[in-house]
Symmetry: C2
Subunit: 286 residues, 2 copies
Amino acid sequence: MNNWFSESTLNDTVRSSFKYKALIHESQSDFQRIRIYDTYSLGRLLVLDDSAMISDKDEFIYHEVITHIPILVQEQTKNVLIIGGGDGGAIRELVKYKSIKSIELVEIDSAVVDISREFFPHVASGLNDQRVKIHYTDGVEFINNCEKKYDLIIVDSTDPIGPAVGLYEKKFYEVCREHLNENGIFMAQTETPLFDEYSISSIYDKLNETFPIVETICAPMLIYPGVYWTFSFCSLTEGITSFKENKLCEYGEFSSKLKWHNLDWHKSCFKLSNLFSASIDYKSSL
Amino acid sequence: MNNWFSESTLNDTVRSSFKYKALIHESQSDFQRIRIYDTYSLGRLLVLDDSAMISDKDEFIYHEVITHIPILVQEQTKNVLIIGGGDGGAIRELVKYKSIKSIELVEIDSAVVDISREFFPHVASGLNDQRVKIHYTDGVEFINNCEKKYDLIIVDSTDPIGPAVGLYEKKFYEVCREHLNENGIFMAQTETPLFDEYSISSIYDKLNETFPIVETICAPMLIYPGVYWTFSFCSLTEGITSFKENKLCEYGEFSSKLKWHNLDWHKSCFKLSNLFSASIDYKSSL
């Protein structure tokens, strides 16, 4: 198919394809091939190697889910660590909270950050905030050598193949837990159970063995094969709906401009259908 | 692409493709071309003209949503009318309730019923129930000439193009409302707002002008382009979560075997994200 970008499931039996007007950027970084397409239905689409990463059409779903859900239920979110997420989308949401004092981003590939600033300025807009510090290094290596603790750790990573495999291992989850403050929260994207090529139940088993509270959130990611995506909320103490007044106050200042997240949706997004709870073998104690 | 079935959005800029092992049936009825593929990821896939209708992998999502939601909140569901749905999937769910006395199915194409009985016996399994009567005729014509009233009317139709256009018109919704009993409920599949080619907001405007209570339910349909699908619950009196004890009692006898629907999911499935509520211009009075 000419002028179509296609991504398939790992076993190549299901494909999602998006027609594009033009390939507007192509380069090879030290780590991956980077392409940006100007598509008809998604706006700009960022592709790393052969995987769609973000599009104008749906990036806000991912970024609003992975940030506002943990922040709203945490009394104090002073410092945040993001592993991956070089596009800056999660940071754009985080900097809306004035009470956050420090945001560290660990991105292995500086080219992703540069490309996002140039081609997705509305996604990268928070990267220049003075509270943000970027470490260009491997996420697993960073956390293993880190001496600080964080209130919130967000894993905004690619699929559990290739360089990101280490971000789905139990050892990594345990090290992250050790680097959380007393009321810490760990958030991660955790694939789809609909075409379960990455054994999502084993990911959730590891999370449940590591964190006392684990909730699965479902939201659609149009550009990922399977679309119906999961995110995991893992907490040492807080439930997923224990909204904190001070945070609701900050949230109220910008919430009318959010494109996906609202409090009603937040309160319901972790109520799973039988299909999801069976796939995930859901054991949360909440 | 050899051995791939592809369906695209109306403007052909987004495609979903499924690889198949074999085309196991192909025929031309009086109304449409009928094909069945044996796919790698979805099991059997029924295609009418060029549109995917049902697959083994996800048919239960659609059929459980469109039936259990209205039935559980209605004190008495004695007689049900289904327009479309010749595969029998909605009926399979309805016959689980012994309190339902009569189910009429209006399907324009008898070939769809025959094909479903042969190739999707687990979907068609309820069609032989003695409470079921099938009318092989046009849905709009049937309701316009019908003298009965129903407790529940379900529209299990194709997209609002071609023969199904009439099932999305305000006049049709009004006639359906006139054919509902006092506490009647109208359920329909109502497309996706993600690739909004059918002006979903105009569909919801018409529903809101016709029914006092309108709720939008979101659930994924893997085989439809866009995946994140909506269903509408339109009621004359009942709220979407006003569960009735007698119905919960019946439901309890089989609910552990359902693959999608559960009461927690039911209570949350109509809590829309900002994206959906903005697209749908949601005006429900509930």
